[in-house]
Subunit: 439 residues, 2 copies
């Protein structure tokens, strides 16, 4: 009976998601979306996708600047993390803040993800609009209208699973006040800070206990686990990260021994950004038997597009190459609009189009008007304005006004958020889909 209900609820979530994704496909291509062919105006996204236009041909009609996702690389990354997490016995709630793309959320779930991690209530609202049934909010939440909205979602949909952080007694009290009268308690995990000077999370086991006790005094919250973010460990290195992850596991074991998870159907232990999931896999493999099943929840989000600079350098697969390799799936195309001297060029993409918080874009290839592609030899990005990238060109650089330059990017989170509809293209430039983001 319980099982049948569960199946029906999952089906309901999937149906809601399918319907909402269908509405995305029926959106009209118009002034809201950058880079799309002017002659596609008024068509639906579904119709445009069915035309399988080419990025690079005159008939395709795409304009610059234009961010593109690689269809093959997206598929590769989705499959790689599915097999990685399965092999290591990890549940997976990839961080959705990275893409805020409901289509990618659903592909992640189709690839075995338990649910989606998010950071703020607005993002939960997007996920719910698209039928996501399990949300892990990796953040404290004390906003009263947002809490009441979440309580209403929980009341209306028995299949909706929601877990969020707590890291202060006052936060627990504010949540309790906002949630009085709610039909179902909100599941919470105590966030353990990654050390002195790290971001959010309790700074000591004593503080963790005080927060857990405060949760125990409420009827509106249910303690189900512990969580944290190992990338914030000060001077993070493999040994320090593992040591902190062991503290996190020990905290779960202590809470369990003290009976603090009574009433939880399972115990959640969660960590894992995109820099240390090898350490998370290793330490979570050591989690001892507890009084309830343990959901070992990894939250890495950047893998879906990966990148060409920051995560290329920091990905755990560099340490475990035998487990595979992610592939950078973004390319930003921009056009040379000015070549005022032999050493300078400017393209028509800037802060509105490319991430610039961690690293500058990297020129990779040049396409001339004959349609051939050549390496971007001797071309270096030196700066970025709102609507321009500044290029320094060496003596060997072959670059003229009108050429398209393909750039690799750093930090997926601040790439996705600059584009509302992103073409997904196969290697030959055929656009097979369009990914809608909701920031």
């Amino acid at each position: 009976m319980q099982w049948t209900l569960h199946i029906l609820q999952r089906q309901r979530g999937a149906r809601m998601g399918t319907e909402a994704l269908g509405r995305l496909a029926e959106e009209r291509v118009d002034h809201r979306f950058k880079g799309l062919p002017p002659d596609a105006h008024g068509r639906t996204v579904r119709e445009l996708a069915a035309q399988r236009r080419n990025l690079f041909t005159a008939e395709g009609g795409f304009t610059t600047p234009l961010l593109v996702l690689s269809a093959e690389r997206l598929a590769h990354n989705l499959a790689l993390m599915e097999s990685y997490t399965a092999r290591h016995g990890l549940a997976f709630a990839p961080h959705g803040k990275t893409s805020m793309a409901p289509q990618l959320f659903h592909r992640q779930i189709e690839h075995g993800a338990w649910g989606i991690t998010l950071a703020v209530p607005h993002q939960v609202r997007v996920a719910r609009e698209f039928g996501i049934q399990r949300v892990f909010l990796a953040n404290e939440l004390v906003d009263a209208p947002a809490l009441r909205w979440i309580a209403a979602e929980l009341a209306a949909d028995p299949g909706f699973r929601f877990v969020c952080y707590v890291d202060s007694v006052r936060g627990v009290e504010l949540m309790d006040t906002a949630l009085r009268g709610a039909a179902r308690p909100v599941d919470v995990v105590v966030e353990l800070g990654a050390g002195e000077g790290a971001r959010t999370g309790v700074r000591s086991a004593a503080d963790a206990r005080a927060v857990a006790e405060a949760v125990g005094r409420t009827d509106t919250l249910r303690l189900v686990g512990v969580a944290g973010y190992e990338a914030q460990v000060p001077d993070a290195d493999p040994a320090r990260v593992r040591a902190w992850l062991r503290h996190l596991v020990a905290l779960a074991a202590e809470f369990d021994k003290d009976g603090r998870f009574a009433g939880a159907g399972e115990i959640v232990v969660s960590a894992g950004g995109s820099e240390w999931f090898d350490a998370v896999a290793e330490v979570f493999a050591e989690v001892p038997a507890l009084s309830l099943p343990v959901l070992k929840l990894l939250r890495s989000g950047a893998y879906v597009s990966h990148d060409d600079v920051h995560y290329r350098r920091l990905t755990p697969f560099n340490r475990v190459p035998e487990e595979g390799a992610l592939e950078p799936a973004f390319r930003l195309w921009a056009q040379v609009v000015s070549r005022p001297s032999a050493t300078e060029a400017f393209v028509n993409a800037g802060k509105r189009d490319a991430a610039y918080d961690l690293d500058l874009p990297v020129a990779q290839v040049v396409r001339g008007d004959d349609g051939t592609e050549r390496p971007a030899a001797g071309i270096e990005v030196t700066a970025l304005s709102d609507q321009h990238l500044w290029l320094r060109t060496g003596s060997g650089a072959d670059l003229q006004v009108g050429d398209w330059v393909g750039f690799g990017l750093s930090h997926p989170c601040t790439v996705f958020d600059k584009w509302q509809l992103i073409p997904v293209a196969e290697a030959d430039g055929t656009v097979v889909d369009y990914i809608r983001t909701c920031f």
Copy 2:
């Protein structure tokens, strides 16, 4: 007859604009828009505005993070630049890339603006969707599908005035190729670079002449003036900026003397960001009599919201206080979600919500749960993550989990682009309008 046609065309543009703005007001409040009250879901923007909700009350129901524009300060800034440009005999095409907000474009035009400046064709498409009849594209444009789209707009609407930059012979040739067969020529101005190492624009008067000659060889382009961007003058100071502006004026006079503007109804001379419009006003007042009327076109865009850091420091009104003062119109509200130690606090806004390219946000005020507002004494923003601001709190700081912190921001261009629907509130917190952006 000509005059009647002109009036009819202007009316047509205004009507198109009014209709499109009306469609914005009929948009549904939903998951696309951050910070809005959850219980407003499904209402139209017009209905929500009519409710005149308060930002700060439980009934208002707004959630954090939340970017807000001040109604009074917006109105003040719009009026101030209207009177400033009128007093100095300048036509005004405020740079629309700053806000990409069609409602603000129309308010700028109602406040006497000649038209709107933009940077890339996608932005022109937004402006045209909302009936903007005069667009100054302060950038080179060699993208063939975009050029053909602009040619079609020019052909379809005799009232549409469009001017863009040229700075290379090759660029002129690419434009000419793309525009063959167009019904009307595209008006262009030669962009004069601001010096060695500056951004786009020809580096010498000889190059400028070569580009002008190339334009003269086409039937698809019409040379109507010169333009540039004085803020790019290397080691810009008042003397160097004025010297460069005089070069720009001299180039216009030389081209005029050489008969290069034959066929232009007026001569366009354009400069002016948000740091040096006092110098532009001064030097453009010296423009000599030319063979045609001169449109002295200022393009400053950041004034509409102004800011609390970058432009507060650099605004020309600091040099000419007798001419008025812009007022920072943005405030970002975020909520303290974590207070892990006496010296640390974290709020729920980050790179997704605040500009961070020029300066970090500045904590200004704190609102406690009793609704009183106090100065943010002893609170300093030290860093910014994707979804968090890091605060360092001194011994005098009065701040606890749940408090709202109001932040001042730097660089309007990278604030507007993080919000798709921005409440406009009066000083007491009553929200009277919502500004839609189209990035």
